[in-house]
Amino acid sequence: MIKVGIPRGLLFYDYGSLWSDFFTKLGVPTITSSETTKKTLTDGTNLAIDESCLPLKIFLGHVHALLNECTHIFVPRIAQHHKDYYYCAKFAGLPDIVRNSFNIDERRLISPNIESKNLYHTFKACREAANCLDASPIKSYLSYLHALHEYKNTQNLSCKNKDTFVAVVGHSYLLHEPFFIQEIKNVLSAQGMKIATPDQVPPKTLYELSAELHPEVYWQLSAKIVGAAQYFCALPNIKGILVISSFGCGPDSLINEYIDNLILKPSGKPYTFVNLDEHTGNAGIVTRVEAFLDLIEWRQ
């Protein structure tokens, strides 16, 4: 009995619904790993190379949890789908990382290679996915188109609102990871602050903003962060900007410096950076967020 496991990590938070929809339409049952716990993180940390970034460690933890529960694991290689933007090295090597860390049978890994949005590459990726499951490539491609259509329709977004917000900016796999972000959200909402995240803005707006004002940024996920920082800085009802990043994130190490100097500082809004790592104790983060809230209050 075929069952495809989808690890709850990295790009799952962006495209997870698309992926599981694709498999459902293809007639293949899926299982998503359960939410991150302390154990996921510990397992992932033990499996990973120390210097890997935190989200990758969590991802490996999720793969580990799924291995015994499914026949196949879905780990796509997403290197590029816009011609001007790249994903960072870990996305480009994700199937290889998983293969080398677990030494699993090649046939259990569904890892379509996504390098471009054009028809040829899309079809090829769908065929690769279908091959592992003994499905027809045409059916796979049609399922993908169908799933993509529905995925695009579900993205209704709104942020234009008279309320005041604190913008929380960062990679979606950090902002949607309750294990890390819940505490920060709790502190903010306890103080009556509403939260705005980049997901409430249409991605197109963010990418356009980034491409127009910051053409030198060439990572897809970073361009979104840069666009979001730029977007939120221009909104008068955003009271402050909290940038979340994680230990070992390569692009963030430079992009944070970049947005600090070119976007956040000139905007005059209160902002702070919070860096997460696997030793994260809540007290430290809570203190930093509270200090940040005090800062916003003083400014007013």
Binding site: I49, P95, S101
Partner: protein, 369 residues
């Protein structure tokens, strides 16, 4: 306009030669010292990789020495290298009060074109042919340096006095600076090889170790604490599998002629441990490691800057390769806090292990016979 560019191994000899021959005034980049590391790290984001900090330190020291045109490289990709220049420009503008120009040579659209355009701008009076000739000469020089280095690594451990060969290499490399033609470069290279060959006993079979990893860290002797010379002095043949000349050659000439196929070659070489390109030298590292494993190397040393994204991905593959082929590996993750003594101790211990393995294996084979 006074040009300054960051250090990388012996790159300064051909580049200075090129700038001299085109009458471009430049500040000889001060050698990397502790101070370079300090001011580089001071103005860098904390968690960025080591080459960023050192190249920034180079540029800042160059500015102190009077430079006002900073030249580095850029190029979009998966690695951070392409974004260095953008953030370094921000850091430099914070320090620099006078106007300066910042020029990034783009490697992703073709190194030759980008370099050529820069030289045209910097030296408007030179003819096109002079510029193309000087670039070709610089690459030739780089190739000669690499060949001499390989020869030192090969003959050094086979001679009774490895230090002598290291000295020969160092003095002859600086002689290249005065060469005016291809012929002279060739002559110095041949002479050096001849001299080294005469010092060595080629029947000896020393330990053989592959040195691979990230470009900058492997090539720059300050960062890796002269790892190649250390190994040669220990009587170990070290094969450096990363070469500046091959890279420059592939990026300029071969790419211009559309013969550039390093990537596909390594794609085949790294299978099944790595199936895709991951930016930087990641794929190359895995494929070279696999080649070492299959070709009877006694061990490999993987050197990379702490947190290097592509090398960390390939480290996953290396772990598997070394386990599957029973190949000892020393992984050196270097940052600005690394100390020479610590590193040397680790290398010595690693070499001791390799020696013991080898003698044990010989003994076992003898017992079987």
């Amino acid at each position: 306009m006074k040009v300054v560019y960051p250090h990388m191994g012996y790159l300064n000899i051909p580049i200075n030669h090129m700038l001299n021959s085109l009458d471009i005034s430049y500040v000889p980049t001060p050698r990397i010292t502790k101070r370079t590391v300090e001011i580089g790290s001071l103005h860098s984001p904390e968690s960025v990789c080591l080459p960023y900090k050192l190249t920034l330190g180079n540029l800042l020291e160059g500015i102190d020495a009077g430079a006002n045109c900073l030249v580095t490289i850029c190029g979009a990709g998966k690695c951070r290298l392409g974004f260095y220049n953008t953030v370094q420009k921000i850091s430099v503008s914070k320090v620099m009060s006078e106007p300066f120009s910042f020029y990034a040579i783009n490697t992703s659209t073709g190194l030759f074109n980008s370099l050529y355009n820069f030289l045209r701008k910097a030296s408007p009076r030179s003819s096109r042919i002079t510029i193309a000739y000087s670039i070709a000469k610089a690459i030739k020089m780089l190739k000669a340096i690499d060949t001499m280095n390989d020869a030192k690594n090969y003959y050094g451990p086979r001679s009774s006095n490895p230090e002598l060969l290291i000295d020969i290499y160092k003095t002859n490399v600086t002689k290249l600076d005065k060469c005016q033609s291809f012929k002279e470069i060739e002559h110095i290279k041949d002479q050096t090889l001849e001299l080294m060959r005469s010092c060595a006993d080629e029947t000896m079979k020393p330990l053989k170790v592959g040195l691979l990893g990230e470009f900058y860290v492997v090539v720059e002797p300050y960062v890796n604490f002269e790892i190649e010379d250390t190994l040669v002095k220990l009587g170990v043949e070290v094969k450096r599998l990363v070469s500046t000349a091959d890279w420059a050659y592939a990026q300029t000439l071969l790419r211009a002629l559309k013969l550039y196929n390093e990537e596909t070659e390594h794609l085949d070489g790294a299978r099944p441990y790595m199936n895709y390109h991951v930016g930087g030298e990641g794929l190359k590292t895995a494929s070279e490691a696999l080649r070492c494993a299959k070709n009877g190397y006694d061990g490999i040393i993987h050197a990379y800057p702490f947190g290097c994204m592509p090398e960390v991905v390939s480290e996953y593959a290396l772990k598997r390769i070394t386990a599957d082929f029973d190949l000892p590996m020393l992984a050196l993750s270097l940052d600005e806090h690394s100390s020479g003594v610590g590193l040397t101790t680790r290398i010595e211990a690693f070499i001791d292990c390799l020696r013991r393995r080898k003698t044990q294996r010989i003994r076992k084979n003898a017992a079987l016979l």
